[in-house]
């Protein structure tokens, strides 16, 4: 999921939801789908949190030092 962009992730989450809503899935499938949705949502939230945190850091960082790298999904994997 590393290379997923936030928007792609969010889109999949919404597809997952839609799949669940149709109700055509077996319990097992819906459980799988549901779990994926939860993971996706968590991922997105985390990304947003991180983004906000960095925004705040940038806003407050008077020293002007930028954080080392770009905000990526990888960091989440390690969390």
């Amino acid at each position: 999921m590393t290379d997923f962009r936030f928007e792609d992730c969010l889109t999949r989450l919404e597809q997952t939801v839609t799949a669940l809503e149709t109700g055509n899935l077996s319990l097992e499938e819906s459980l799988k789908v549901f779990e994926e949705g939860v993971a996706l949502s968590r991922h997105c939230a985390k990304y947003l949190d991180e983004a906000e945190r960095r925004l705040e850091i940038l806003a407050k960082d008077e020293t002007g030092a930028t954080t080392a790298g770009p905000l990526g999904w990888n960091a989440e994997d390690e969390a």
Binding site: L10, E21, L27, S41, C44, E52
Partner: protein
């Protein structure tokens, strides 16, 4: 008319007298006696006449007595004397000294001849005559030491001037050998060398008495004398050859003394006056030069030579002041230009542009932050919506009603007893929590209600 000279009778008579008496001091006249008369006074008056003229004549008593003949009318005579003008009567007459019958005087002839010869030689020439010393120191006198003449002269000299040196050369003045002695006297005095003037003379007497002074040797001696000679023979009208050749003729010896010796006081005064004039002239001369010098020395250019310097110093000071002023003005001008440029520079300072830049930058930064924040908000919303819907769709909702879900270790849902074998671990998901179980046995049939 103005140049017409008018004389009074007296004046004319006086002039006539001078002319006549000076022109004819001694003259021989030949004529015939008429109107001869002896007055009671003893003086004799007569007229001398010739064919066309007549001349009054007078013979004073002393001369009358010396006559060697008895004069009378009609007698032809030679008369010697001088002419005198008698102003009161307006006539003139011959004052006779000598009167001789015509043709008688051998002495007379000799006198006339000698006089003519000496005159021709120029010995009577006035130009030859030497001036007398005005102040003689040593006076030589040739005369008889016993005569009246020396007495008269010494008296006069003694009275006028005490300090004179008088040398008397004694000489017989009449008779045999008189001429020789007179000549020797003159020569002896000259030999002394320092005699300033010589007086040769005697008192009056008859023609014969005076004759030595008519001798040629005496005349020559007088001419040869180095010292000027004054003749002083007889009284008034006794004229001799000596009188003619002498440098000066005095009528009498005492007159000669008076001519020679001036008043001492006058001489002393003359000298002191000269000395006074000398000093005065010199002093005046020095004063004049001193005045001239002082006048020059007092001129401003010499007393205040610094005057032109002061003008120049003022000029220099002026120039200096102007120089300083102009120099400072030049700097001031340059400073003004610089100040104007500096003021413009300050006005054109990029400070305003910095402010504008900052303003724009702030706006942009705000826009950047705003854009980002908006983006995040939108993302949050979208995520929130998705998460909300997902929550309501959880398949685990049935578990709450008592159902449970059993999965294999591989996570596969156990739907049939055939899915597991005894001993297999299974995980049971409950409404609340879960169970980790192991399969004891499998059953083909359970006790559920048949449907």
């Amino acid at each position: 008319m103005s140049d017409r000279t008018v004389l009074t009778v007296s004046e004319l008579s006086e002039r006539l007298r001078q002319v006549v008496e000076e022109t004819f001091p001694a003259v021989w006249v030949e004529g015939e006696i008429s109107n001869f008369k002896i007055y009671s006074s003893g003086h004799a008056y007569f007229t001398l006449k010739d064919a066309s003229a007549q001349l009054r004549a007078v013979l004073f008593r002393t001369r009358v007595r010396r006559l060697r003949f008895e004069p009378g009318d009609g007698q032809h005579v030679l008369a010697f004397g001088s002419l005198e003008v008698y102003a009161q009567r307006g006539d003139y007459s011959l004052v006779v000294e000598l009167l001789e019958p015509r043709g008688v005087g051998a002495l007379q002839v000799a006198f006339e001849q000698l006089k003519a010869r000496l005159q021709d030689e120029g010995l009577f020439d006035p130009a030859r005559k030497r001036p007398l010393p005005r102040f003689p120191r040593k006076i030589g006198i040739v005369t008889s030491p016993t005569g009246a003449a020396i007495r008269d002269m010494l008296r006069v000299i003694g009275r006028r001037f005490a300090g004179l040196h008088i040398v008397l050369a004694p000489a017989k003045v009449q008779g045999e050998g008189a001429a020789a002695e007179i000549v020797h006297g003159i020569e002896d005095l000259n030999r002394l060398g320092d005699v300033d003037v010589i007086i040769v003379g005697r008192g009056g007497g008859s023609l014969e008495d005076l004759w030595a002074f008519n001798e040629e040797s005496v005349a020559r001696a007088i001419v040869a004398s180095k010292a000027p000679v004054i003749s002083a023979v007889g009284h008034e009208v006794d004229f001799t050859i000596a009188d003619f050749v002498a440098d000066l003729r005095a009528p009498t010896p005492s007159a000669a003394a008076e001519l020679v010796v001036r008043e001492k006081q006058a001489v002393v005064e003359t000298v002191s006056e000269l000395r006074e004039r000398l000093h005065r002239a010199m002093r005046r001369r020095l004063e004049r030069q001193r005045d001239r010098l002082d006048g020059l020395a007092r001129r401003r250019v010499l007393t205040d030579p610094a005057r032109p310097l002061r003008d120049l110093a003022r000029r220099v000071d002026d120039a200096r002041a102007r120089l300083r002023h102009a120099g400072l003005a030049a700097v001031r001008r340059a400073r003004h230009t610089t100040d104007v440029a500096t003021e413009r520079l300050r006005a054109a300072s990029p400070f305003a542009r910095l402010a504008a830049g900052r303003h724009r930058l702030e706006r942009l930064e705000t826009a950047v932050r705003g854009g980002m924040a908006r983006h995040l908000t939108v993302s949050h919303h979208r995520l929130g919506a998705a998460v909300g819907r997902l929550g309501s769709l959880s398949p685990l909702g049935v578990l709450a009603r008592g159902y449970s879900l059993t999965r294999t270790a591989e996570g596969l849902v156990v739907k049939s007893h055939r899915d597991v074998s005894p001993g297999d671990p299974v995980r049971v998901l409950l409404g609340e929590g879960g169970l980790d179980c192991r399969v004891e046995r499998t059953r083909e049939h359970d006790d559920r209600f048949p449907i």
